[in-house]
């Protein structure tokens, strides 16, 4: 069971805004999904704390500390609102 308040908190964490109606339906749907997810908690049995089969790398697999050229500023900014080489967010915007 998930409450509307919890959904509101999650929305805040997720940087999402919902109408009251959406909140209601999300609460309903998430309750459903979480009940489904809860099937894993009905599963008893030993739990390993950390995946043992997970691949592990050695120190020498890490990247060497060698500088490579960065990207041109125009490319970095090419998809964004920008000014003087900076990304820009204007406040109190009405476009």
């Amino acid at each position: 069971m998930i409450t509307k308040q919890e959904v509101e908190k999650l929305a805040k964490l997720s940087k999402l805004r919902f109408t009251d109606e959406e909140l209601e339906s999300f609460t309903r749907e998430m309750t459903e999904i979480i009940e489904f997810a809860d099937t894993i908690n009905r599963n008893v049995g030993g739990l390993t704390s950390e995946p043992e089969s997970a691949r592990v790398m050695e120190i020498d697999d890490l990247r060497e500390d060698e500088v490579r050229p960065s990207y041109p500023n125009e490319e970095i900014l090419s998809n964004a609102e920008n000014s003087n080489g900076f990304f820009v967010v204007r406040r109190n915007c009405t476009k």
Binding site: M57, D65, V67, I76, S83, G85, F86, V88, V89
Partner: protein, 476 residues
Amino acid sequence: MSEKRKYEMVVGLETHVELSTKTKIFCSCTTAFGGAPNTHCCPVCTGMPGTLPLLNKKVVEYAVRAGLATHGKINHLCRMDRKNYVYPDLPKAYQISQSDQPISVGGYVELDSGKHIRLHHIHIEEDAGKLVHENGSTYIDYNRGGVPLIEIVSEPDISSPEEAKEYMTKLQILMRYIGVSDCKMQEGSMRCDVNVSLRPWGQKEYGTRAEIKNMNSMNFVVKALNYEYERQADLLDSGEKVTQDTLRYDEETSTTALMRRKEDAQDYRYFPEPDILSFRISDAFIGKVQGGMPELPMAKKKRYLASGISEQIVEDLYKYRRVTDFLDETVRLGGNMQKAATLITGTVYALLATEEDKENFDIPVTPGDFAQLVKYVDDNKVDFTVARKTLQKMVKEGGRLSDYIRASDLEDLPDDVLREYCARAIAERPQAVADFKNGRDSAVTSFYGPVKKQLQGRNINIKQIDAVLRDLLSKM
């Protein structure tokens, strides 16, 4: 001062130290300071969709160094984790950091009193970009985004603002020694979050703590802690409760101000970073890093004190790795440690204006020449004052010691030459001769200077000069 206070202060520090690797932690962009905005950037460090991080080996090595230097236990299996929070300076909306399996666990930093400030752990993570708020807009530069950091988390073992400052100083010296960071607080390459609570003396349980974020000066830390003591003590005195808030320090007013209430505390939703495999740190690697470690500052400090150098001089010396390396090399080449130490802190330091100059200790004098100069002084071949002047010149103008002091200068002066110098001095000062003859014995000293001038730096015992002068005068 804390003894006089009503409550015991309990402080823990989370210190961020920027590592001086060449490249960022997850991409090959340079970490060079400065640069036009967003020019040290690539798709990875600007969080472009689809990009993947590649962990920098040097970052791990430096963090292992920091762990070993603080007597920590290096984790054999480490993992990166995502710390999720949304802020425009963090392009991926998560910081790749470490939570459960950091590089180093435990360890301590020793204070002068011998007290150990225990460490909880040291982990690696990435720095955020820089925001500039201007004209109602926010300008974002990701050049610093992805610069590697270590976060050194202490246990709440610090019990006064002064101890906090000493702990930070010790950390700073240590990190510079082992070459992992320049720890410049004013440039932000060292900064800390301060957790502080009060409790009545003798009470075991900790009080509720407040956290002061992002302090970039030791003096501010001291001021902020003093202010927090008063604020929290007032609350406790009046029966109110301290709340677990996040605060910011206001430099103008030397006070702290509320940034975020406990209820608004972030839920970072840490989870293992799926894009980076866990990595092993082998004993062989740890051994290699350990083998490359210099003698640590506190050990060095104790050794210098044991060798009889005065406490003040040791204090001025041991902080700077390069200075101590220079001194140790001088001693190895036969220079007297105390005289060398005195010359460095007395003479060389006078020419090094800033802390940074001392830290860099970039002087055009070789330890070999310096050791030789110290030996001359030790053997009474060069007068200490002359040695100081010579050293000053060498530091300022460069050149070899042999350019300043010729071998012939150091040979014993034939008696007849000294007699000739003395005779000349006497001949030039008839009035003084008359005074002496008239019984004013001290008039003999007025010949010392003129004789020394002719000696041009040769170290002749003044008693010897005095004897020759009196001999000549008696014969007049």
